[in-house]
Symmetry: C2
Subunit: 355 residues, 2 copies
């Protein structure tokens, strides 16, 4: 991309969930239109988009028409089939780029990429089969966790091993999918850096947030995180190294473990990230607008934190708390308009401003 997209241009978004919805609102704020591509019916993002295509990722005609109707393509999730990307990219540029997708779609590739940059990760081993797991348990030991290389999120596609006897069940849980074994990391806290790189190569990071998970799903993110000034600098430099290495354009979420031996990269996500939702009420320009600015070739906006924030996800029945939360001071609600409440389903989030 050379010239910035003019206001009035259309941004295509693959995926119509809550991230696509909030990206769409941010795009509108800069005068852009959005077109959502989503296989599922009635996606949350369609309520705030100029257009929505409901089609599968193997529908060549729909992918072609979508790509032809937009000026740039971005996405809200990383597990987009490669064949679909081939069709789209032949017509319209995609940001973040294919290399970022290729790496983040495969946990093993991602770990190899990160260690290749000189960054620390959890100990890991490729587990193509049961024999490889037996061998890997000798070096990595337990507790450890077996994960499918692809298509995992929010704790799905994972099996914990508390002793070597769990190996057979863990392999069975993978249902034949290629996997990797990760050793547990003894960390004090998990933080994440929401980093953005513009088309001209500028990198801006929001203040790191401190994450707490429940049942494998993000529960809260608190800013500022309890990080020393030097670790805060390390976190930001490390994120910038990743984005620069990928010639990345857009927002990336970088999850980090804080350990006595420094920061360990847990995982990267080539998209706006749940742990960056606090920016909506903590900064003049939030992560969604930063992402849109980057993919549109605009300069990055001002992501300086004006307020301390605790973001809490509203999962499933947490929606019952909405009337109470709506009446609470210093509280900003963000609901996703999902019709059906399901256990474990992300229904919204709330940003509490700490004064």
């Amino acid at each position: 991309m050379t010239d910035p997209l003019p206001t009035g241009a259309t941004i295509g978004i693959l995926g119509g969930g809550q991230l696509g919805r909030m990206l769409s609102v941010a795009a509108a704020r800069l005068g852009f239109r959005t077109h959502i591509f989503e296989p599922g019916a009635n996606p949350p993002a369609a309520d705030v988009a100029h257009a929505c295509t409901t089609a599968a990722y193997d529908d060549v005609a729909a992918l072609t028409a979508f790509a032809q109707s937009v000026d740039v393509i971005t996405y809200e999730f990383e597990n987009i089939p490669t064949e679909a990307l081939d069709i789209l990219e032949a017509i319209t540029p995609i940001h973040p780029n294919r290399e970022a997708l290729r790496i983040s779609q495969d946990r093993l590739t991602e770990k190899n990429f990160l260690t290749g940059l000189g960054l620390q990760t959890a100990p890991y081993a490729d587990i193509p089969d049961a024999a490889a797991l037996t061998a890997a348990l000798d070096t990595i030991g337990t507790p450890s966790i077996l994960k499918t290389r692809r298509f995992g999120y929010d704790g799905k596609g994972q099996a914990r091993l508390t002793s070597p006897e769990d190996a057979a069940q863990a392999i069975a849980d993978m249902a034949g999918a290629p996997a990797l074994l990760e050793g547990f990391v003894d960390f004090s806290i998990e933080v994440s850096v929401i980093a953005t790189r513009s088309a001209s190569g500028d990198v801006a990071c929001y203040d790191p947030g401190e994450n707490v998970h429940r049942a494998g799903i993000l529960h809260t993110t608190t800013v500022p995180a309890r990080l020393s000034a030097s670790l805060r600098t390390d976190a930001v430099l490390l994120a910038a190294r990743i984005l620069n290495a990928l010639d990345y354009v857009g927002v990336m979420g970088v999850e980090l473990f804080v350990t006595p031996s420094g920061l360990i990269v847990n995982e990267i996500a080539p998209r706006v990230h749940n742990s960056g939702h606090w920016t909506q009420n903590g900064c003049a320009v939030d992560q969604f607008e930063q992402h849109i600015r980057a993919v549109a070739g605009w300069p990055l906006g001002d992501g300086q934190r004006h307020s301390d924030v605790v973001m809490e996800n509203l999962i499933g029945d947490d929606m019952d708390r909405v009337p109470e939360l709506a009446a609470t001071r210093d509280t900003a609600l963000h609901l996703y308009g999902k019709a059906e409440v399901k256990p474990g389903r992300k229904m919204g989030h709330v940003n509490r401003i700490i004064r």
Copy 2:
């Protein structure tokens, strides 16, 4: 209205301009869908709405279908034909209520209402004809301003009189429309209060903003306004008196002149207001969400100001400054996605955060 609207409900919005657009985004943030009713093609609000009806205000079938498809109706402008309101209100509740619309649709009725509440306004006189103008000039004098009673905004439908000799031309400018004469007010500054009243009668006001106009159109709003603590209190109490008198539900913009003899009400607008756009970057809950909360029967949100802000409108060719503004620190852009730039047309606004 008794029960709060549940998330997932649909809010109908009359008018598809930038105010409808920003209301629609705020509604989505609370999980509501919106349906826009707008006679003009490609309204800015349609890009961020679940549905849009393009039809005239005398299209009974379209009005009926629209009202039947939504759970509550609100509006972004006050000049909605009474006949349309009759059709809509027979099917679905409208907030703010008809009385607020009736009063604000007619400058004379509005002035009588305000003075009836014991509030100060500019001196004024009903001008049904040329003879009435001659008589009124004897008491009100010049400089003064002749305004149509209805359908004026942003300086339209107004004629200034610098001497009694201007009377004939001013009457001609009204083109037979009923008018009123307003005396000039010697004021130091103009401020506005963005006040909200919930369905349960709670009133919340944002900090008053200080307005500067250019060529009859709002140019900047600065918060905090240069107001003494006692005038600040007066402004808020006065706004609350207006809202309570009308049993009002929603956001109202109240423009006030600051004079040596206290606050004089310039005009009221029964809707979200351009001088309240700063709240998007100065508060956890902005005027658009407050309005949606009120009309949905929800409790009001936290409108405390966390940052000082200068809001500047981007009018016509100001759009040429967007690339520079996008690269400026402490600056949040809000563009309306209007296809065509015209002189005097509101294209967007920018909120500068003052640190």
